[in-house]
Point group: C2
């Protein structure tokens, strides 16, 4: 009988990227929190069952409690020999119905879901009508009253660009940099009173999209003036009329890493600079 | 003191029309069933609390268990003096969150939500991708595998028009007339693998839209041939490959009464003939 070789080949370290879709209704958000179950925690548990050992995953960013994801991106390192597609398949068998992996691939070692991201895209669906929604209540944020498009567009234009967004973040936000670039906010009116707002930026503060949207809605409803909004940007002090909208209608829609053919060019350039 | 007048004015009988939106997930459908709670039952209970006495409502038609409604129409007769808007408001306070009234108005005495309807429009949302949906699972029917558009369009064309739809109904269907007119079925591909199918017709049989869609999908997937579908129409015998799709993605989208400016003209003409 031959002796087993003492020279063992070290398994190469792989870097695997996955796209994570989830219904945020039952979760405290992507990141670990002490007050409930996070998506990250559930994903790491499923991964452990496939790989046999604990692996820490890196998400592109935290999402607020209750916020949904169509395009959260995460990566992790492993020496497992299971093909990316096999890990994906295995995870799907262990994940609950409200968390799905929609893509999985090996990526270069320097890819980091958080730091490599050059643009995050959030999409907010509002239902603007008198009566509360009967179906899809977890997936749309209900807003009563007439909203003036011109006032909303003016507010959106004022908020887009490079600003100190100190007045537009949750009290628990610990971010050091509050001066951020926001691509032009876009709004579409869909049938049946649905308003769709798109926010794209390199990074966002806690609750920022929900507060921004709360301000745009308050301007549209005539509860907040353009001056008041301007003041918030200038002074960094949040107006009591700047409410944080419910997270039901908010989705982390997509994260860009600069190598996608449809990544907004300016964002990619800024990031690579 | 004056004697009360013995000549009492009889309150006029009013006919009130309402649009009922509902999330069908928790209901056995619109109509009373012995195996669970129906939307009609819940609506009648709320109405009783406002009007003080039981009133029977007439819906435009039953919907299958689990099917949603954006535009179910109902009417009822009452001698109550409460304005339609007041009854509406009162009902909203008594209805559960998954049933809403979105419109209410007095209509002429001969309006009957069921018999006056000249066209019913059902909309079916399918999610065509490998992975099951994580969010909106109650609002879309998941279909795996590649679907060929040309085969689906050919099946849709074959099914549209005047046919005996005996092979396309649930086993419990008791309808006497099975020869029906179906307007041209329409299909749109929306982003993220969503397929939207529109069915418009004067009337439908039990489970009919779900079976028709099951056949169109089976043709698109190559599991059913055009010949087999043709046979079902000719013989009235259902193929074992004609599955009834899950109701999650199906909505009673709108009911036309021929007086709407956007009612398909042919349908209105046929009905008034």
């Amino acid at each position: 009988m031959q002796e087993p070789s003492t020279k063992r080949e070290l398994s190469p370290v792989r870097n695997i990227r996955m796209t994570v879709e989830y219904d945020g209704t039952s979760y405290v958000g992507w990141q670990y929190q002490t007050n409930g179950v996070s998506v990250q925690e559930v994903v790491e548990k499923a991964l452990m069952r496939i790989l046999g050992s604990f692996v820490r995953v890196t998400g592109s960013g935290r999402t607020d409690s209750g916020v949904h994801s169509r395009g959260q991106v995460m990566n992790f390192h492993t020496t497992s020999a299971i093909p990316a597609r096999g890990i994906w398949r295995g995870m799907l068998a262990h994940l609950p119905a409200d968390i799905m992996i929609t893509a999985a691939a090996d990526v270069p070692p320097d890819f980091d879901a958080r730091h490599s991201a050059c643009l995050r895209w959030y999409r907010f669906f509002l239902l603007n009508r008198d009566v509360t929604p009967s179906f899809g209540r977890q997936y749309v944020t209900h807003v009563r009253g007439r909203l003036d498009d011109q006032r909303m567009l003016a507010a959106m234009e004022m908020l887009s660009g490079n600003h100190d967004f100190s007045a537009f973040r949750g009290v628990a936000c610990t971010a050091v940099r509050t001066r951020l670039d926001l691509e032009p906010i876009e709004m579409s009116r869909l049938p049946d009173g649905i308003l769709m707002l798109d926010y794209r930026g390199r990074s966002f503060l806690q609750n920022m999209v929900r507060i921004l949207t709360g301000c745009i809605v308050a301007c549209g409803a005539g509860r907040m003036s353009a001056d008041e909004l301007h003041n918030m940007l200038e002074t960094g002090v949040r107006s009591p009329r700047a409410t944080t909208l419910a997270p039901n209608g908010l989705y982390l829609w997509r994260v860009f890493y600069g190598d996608e053919p449809d990544c907004p060019v300016e964002a990619a350039l800024r990031h690579n600079r």
